[in-house]
């Protein structure tokens, strides 16, 4: 086979800009002795090569294999060009900016080469805390505008020194066009407050003394951690509060100062050995820990922690069998963790309810000292942090740490933020025409989603929109994303909930810009988000969606939360649900699990029966201390007691009955998470076995003749559960029996529905599907039935995924030209 010279044009699409893609092309072209050029344009990267066809083949093979770590190639297409080209060498052409589809990369953890440099005393970046290259470092967190050039990032005030500039210009350097590149001499610097002469910036005038100063700062931090102090540290997307995770007093103190009494605290480790000494780590989990996204990974605690490592404070994740670990992901984290060696608490620094702090001044004011300026009755100052370690590279966009959890069926993203956003989510090619659609998402775990040229861009987790700052950030980020992706929406989508702030923002925008606004039912959006991220076609046949969550606005102003929907992207209709039960005091029932236990029990038996048979249970004693006369009148007179078919509230009810946070939860899902962690997997498997003779609870599946819906009715479960309480059965046994009963009822419903409807897929979504016990058991049972089970892997099953579902539904409906529920 003879080889001959040909010309080829190669088009690469995906996240290929700002990630060192062109230098890789350049290097490969040189190594394959090809001539030509490479350039960025609106569609990605365009390569023109002339050379031996065998060499070009080799080049193309190596291109997909040796693509830089942060690149995400969606497609490589190539065509032979007959025209004569006259390239004498290979060159990188400057990018010309024009409108089109280019991806902004996500922030990435430090790469091995950069880490080597900061640990090499002979390297000029020795101990430099802001070392990065095209393979790693900040991206979304520093970008203000496009094109992604240094002048449009937080680095625009830092003028490159001659050495850095040379690296930046050298196509063969790892830092070729690395926008945030920097060194001791020209880049951002650390600051410590309170300061001392050794750590003061005045102490450093030469590069050598800059290194010494960094040493001094690291010494101070190290010493403070050893002494059990709490330090606020500015990271990539926001400030953290940090302390020694094995110092119980410090951890308790941190919780008190932050007023965070219940939510688990995230941990940071230098390397896998630290993580492994406390947790079981699967191969998959290690992969995620070590990935450039470097998320917090929820891991099972070891029953017996490694004795060579200090025991962790019991206050880190009370009531949970899981620990959330991440590996150090910036050079600064590495330098701190390396010296300290042990696990650190690394929790977002914020005042309760507010978003993570990103601003230096705010951090110094609020974390070092909180002034209650607007609060006449309370003038005392409270310190949260003993030290604030910050730097002068501004955080342009707040990005929280991402949280993932791995299980038998893959990974679940619980919070999608740093390292993932704004990476695009590929939709099925049938969505290709979908364009300029903006979905406003939900409320508490809000995100928004753009669809541009058939691909979906989901914002990072924003948080509770009722919080003023979060709401401002949401709008700021919306503007930023519109700019970054050169996006001007032509269609809007939002939830049907009339009181969601996201709904109101969407309505205001629709009105002022005269844009069509599509209202999307909450649980339909949950199901559609799972279908969309799994690449189902726009016209895919109806699937059975099971959406279990806390609460969402249903059709006819009902409150939903445990729904079985037959759904495609365009429409959905409900075929089964949990039996609706009163939410005693509406929003208050979300915070006080006992209210749900009370409503469930009242629905299941008379009060006399309950008192006679179960009067000595803890929950009965708890009820006695509540204002039951008023509660009963509320139920009778239907004062603020709306019915809701909520799965989340059923979990709360069972948890409360087991004396798990009956009085108050600190965050939604707290009681349910504790309940899940009580489940005994072996016992569960035994209960779920086909011929199990072990007594289990009954959640009946009944056809409601009025609504024509199957209803999962837990009324019969309660006497059995309360009997178990009387028999002093363990919490674990009861929690397991409840999970088994719910799983069996769901499966029974699926089987009943199969006899009446045609579907090949069952889609699991909604916040309750983050319950691993529930979702993995359902998944395997559904697959055993020969059905395809579709779950979340890229976006959260909770309301963080709602925006994607809304956008996909809007796209499908627009395509079908059937805007059926237009609201204004």
């Amino acid at each position: 086979m003879s080889s001959h010279v040909i010309n080829q044009e190669v088009r690469v699409k995906g996240t290929v800009q700002g990630v060192g893609f062109r230098p890789t092309v350049y290097r490969l072209a040189l190594e394959c002795q090809l001539h030509g050029e490479v350039s960025n344009d609106c569609d990605g990267v365009l390569i023109r090569v002339s050379g031996m066809d065998t060499k070009i083949k080799e080049f193309l093979n190596r291109l997909s294999v040796e693509a830089p770590p942060l690149a995400k190639i969606d497609s490589i297409t190539h065509a032979v060009i007959e025209r004569a080209w006259d390239y004498r060498d290979f060159s990188i052409r400057g990018s010309s900016h024009s409108a089109g589809r280019t991806d902004i990369a996500a922030d990435a953890a430090s790469c091995p080469q950069c880490l080597q440099e900061i640990n090499d005393p002979n390297n000029r970046r020795y101990l430099y805390p802001f070392t990065n290259c095209t393979h790693c470092g900040p991206r979304l967190s520093i970008v203000n505008a496009i094109p992604y050039d240094r002048c449009h990032t937080s680095m625009h005030d830092f003028k490159l020194c001659a050495t850095c500039a040379a690296e930046y210009r050298n196509p063969l350097d790892r830092r070729f066009h690395a926008q945030p590149t920097a060194c001791h001499e020209c880049g951002p610097r650390l600051f410590l407050s309170p300061d001392s002469p050794a750590t003061s910036i005045d102490s450093a005038i030469s590069p050598l003394s800059l290194i010494q100063r960094t040493q001094s700062i690291l010494d101070v931090i190290q010493q403070a951690l050893v002494e059990g102090k709490i330090i606020a540290i500015k990271g990539l997307g926001g400030f953290h509060l940090c302390c020694d995770a094995s110092n119980h007093a410090s951890v308790e103190l941190l919780r008190q100062r932050k007023h965070r009494y219940a939510k688990p605290l995230a941990l940071m480790a230098q390397d896998m050995s630290v993580v492994r000494s406390y947790c079981q780590v699967s191969e998959q989990e290690e992969q995620h820990l070590r990935s450039p996204a470097a998320p917090i990974v929820l891991l099972n605690r070891l029953v017996q922690a490694d004795a060579n490592f200090p025991a962790l404070s019991s206050a880190i994740a009370p009531g949970s069998h899981l620990l959330g670990f991440m590996l150090a992901y910036t050079p600064l984290h590495h330098l701190i963790c390396q010296r300290f060696g042990k696990a650190l608490v690394m929790t977002s620094a914020n005042l309760s309810g507010e978003p993570q702090i990103t601003d230096n001044e705010e951090a110094l004011e609020k974390l070092l000292r909180i002034h209650s300026a607007n609060n006449e009755s309370d003038t005392t100052d409270t310190e949260i942090a003993d030290l604030v370690l910050y730097h002068d590279r501004p955080i342009a966009n707040r990005i929280d740490d991402s949280v993932v959890r791995c299980h038998a069926f893959g990974v679940q993203v619980l919070r999608r933020a740093r390292g993932y956003a704004p990476r695009s989510i590929a939709l099925h090619s049938s969505f290709q025409e979908a364009d300029q659609i903006l979905a406003y998402g939900a409320e508490l775990k809000s995100t928004f989603c753009l669809i541009k040229q058939g691909s979906a861009i989901l914002s990072q987790h924003q948080g509770d929109l009722e919080d003023v700052k979060t709401c401002d950030d949401y709008e700021k980020n919306l503007t930023l994303f519109k700019n970054l992706f050169e996006f001007s929406p032509k269609h809007l989508a939002c939830d049907l909930h009339p009181e969601y702030i996201s709904t109101k923002l969407a309505q205001a925008q629709a009105q002022s810009k005269n844009l069509p606004l599509l209202g999307v039912q909450h649980h339909h959006a949950h199901i559609a988000s799972a279908m969309a991220e799994n690449g189902l076609s726009r016209t895919h046949a109806k699937a059975l969606g099971i959406a279990f969550d806390g609460l969402g606005y249903g059709d006819n102003a009902e409150l939903w939360g445990g729904e079985f929907l037959l759904a495609d992207f365009c429409e959905s209709h409900r075929v089964a649900r949990l039996q609706p039960i009163a939410l005693v005091g509406a929003a208050q029932a979300m915070l006080q699990p006992w209210r749900n236990a009370y409503a469930q029990i009242r629905n299941s038996m008379t009060w006399t029966t309950f008192q006679e048979r179960y009067g000595t249970t803890k929950i009965a004693e708890f009820f006695e201390q509540q204002s039951l006369a008023t509660i009963d009148r509320m139920l009778q007179a239907q004062v603020n007691c709306p019915l809701a078919s909520s799965a989340g509230r059923l979990f709360d009810a069972v948890a409360a009955a087991l004396d798990i946070h009956p009085d108050k939860v600190q965050f939604e899902g707290q009681a349910a998470i504790t309940l899940e962690s009580l489940v005994d997997q072996n016992y569960l498997a035994q209960l779920l076995r086909a011929k199990s003779t072990e007594p289990c609870y009954q959640i009946e599946v009944l056809n409601n003749p009025i609504t024509q819906l199957y209803e999962l009715n837990p009324a019969a479960m309660w006497p059995a559960l309360l009997d178990d309480l009387n028999l002093q059965q363990s919490q674990s046994k009861i929690a397991t029996r409840f999970h088994a009963a719910l799983i069996q009822a769901v499966l029974k419903t699926v089987d009943l529905l199969r006899t009446q409807h045609r579907f090949n897929e069952v889609v699991l979504s909604g916040g309750c599907m983050q319950n691993e016990v529930l979702s993995t058991a359902l998944q395997s049972a559904i697959q055993e039935r020969g059905l395809v089970c579709i779950t979340h892997h890229l976006v959260p099953a909770n309301d963080g995924g709602i925006a994607l579902g809304q956008a996909a539904i809007a796209a499908a409906r627009i395509a079908k030209n059937a805007l059926s529920t237009e609201i204004n």
């Binding site: 309760s352 607007n374 009181e499 004062v639």
Partner: protein, 335 residues
């Protein structure tokens, strides 16, 4: 009471119940309309204010008042918050057949007493008795005329940066009292409706703070709705302080059990005033000297760089949450 035509029986009823109670020269003539001398009106100011409101409430008697008192106070207050001196009221009633005459008399007497205390005259009226089920016990409509003093130029669009937001006392009492009375909620400590005519207090307030921008009584939708209306109309942002907002512990406790936000509970004797910062101290002192303003408080202010139309609350935990206008009823948002 039996429903039916306008014959002798009705005439007797009117004589018996209404004329006796409301007795005044204008009403006693029983013409089809009340007649006023323009010159009499002109002595109070240069503009007429006119308003109407219908009162339907369950239960019709509640701690702190009844539907009759409410029907007078509500209309008096609607006139007064515009800076008007309330003068004349009309009264139209729709009564469900079967109501005891004694009950009706009680309501009418309450209206008469309240009107007398407020210094307003009921000058014309109408009564219909309708079939059982066509209305719920009794519906009352009152309309009112008042005269606005020459200098008063109150407007909902007039709030400016740094203006203070004042209220004249504890919030949510009426809403809580009604809910409690309606549902027989077994409240441990009784809460009374704050139902009261506010025109005197408003006069005192306007004398002390003549540059007051705006006043509104915080009825249905509570102060949250009123403050949102101000923020919308004045295109400004407003911040209120949770710790400065006067809410009785009983009301707080009641709301906690019921799962309601007291900021959205109705009041019938509470006003929200937007007062320039310089006149705030005088306004507060004047209100506190009046029995209906004893617990007056400065609860917040107009932000300098706030988002137009946004009302936010500095919570006791230190965060700031959006207090929005409700589209419907209070509905949980947590998923």
């Amino acid at each position: 009471l039996a429903h039916g035509g306008g014959g002798k029986a009705m005439r007797d009823l009117i004589d018996d119940v209404f004329i006796n109670a409301f007795s005044n020269s204008s009403l006693n003539t029983l013409e089809d309309q009340a007649r006023f001398q323009l010159s009499d009106l002109a002595q109070y100011g240069d503009r007429l204010a006119m308003t109407t409101d219908s009162y339907v409430i369950d239960p019709i008697f509640f701690p702190g008042g009844d539907i009759g008192k409410l029907a007078i106070c509500g209309t008096v207050n609607d006139l007064a918050v515009g800076g008007a001196k309330p003068l004349y009221l009309t009264c139209a009633m729709i009564i469900e057949e079967g109501m005891q005459v004694s009950t009706l008399k009680q309501i009418v007497q309450s209206m008469a007493d309240t009107a007398k205390a407020a210094g307003v005259l009921i000058v014309t009226g109408d009564t219909k008795v309708v079939e059982r089920g066509s209305c719920d016990k009794i519906f009352i409509n009152t309309a009112g005329i008042g005269v606005i003093k020459k200098d008063y130029q109150l407007g909902v669009h007039k709030a400016q940066a740094h203006d203070r937001i004042l209220v004249n006392g504890y919030l949510g009492d009426h809403g809580a009292a009604i809910l409690n009375a309606r549902g027989d909620m077994h409240l441990s400590s009784p809460i009374e409706s704050d139902c009261a005519p506010l025109h005197e207090l408003i006069e005192v307030l306007l004398n002390a703070a003549p540059n007051t921008r705006f006043i509104r009584d915080a009825t249905r939708g509570g102060i949250a709705s009123v403050i949102n209306e101000i923020a919308d109309a004045s295109k400004c942002g407003i911040e209120i302080q949770e710790t400065a907002t006067p809410i009785r512990n009983e009301v707080k406790g009641f709301c906690e059990i019921l799962g309601l936000d007291p900021l959205y509970l109705a009041n019938e004797g509470k006003l929200v005033a937007v007062v320039p910062a310089a006149e705030t101290a005088a306004a507060l002192a004047a209100m506190r000297a009046h029995p209906l303003g004893r617990d007056a408080a400065d609860i917040g202010y107009v932000l300098e760089d706030g988002r137009a139309g946004r009302v936010q609350m500095q919570t006791s935990f230190g965060g700031k949450r959006i207090v929005d206008m409700l589209v419907g009823e209070q509905l949980p948002r947590i998923c």
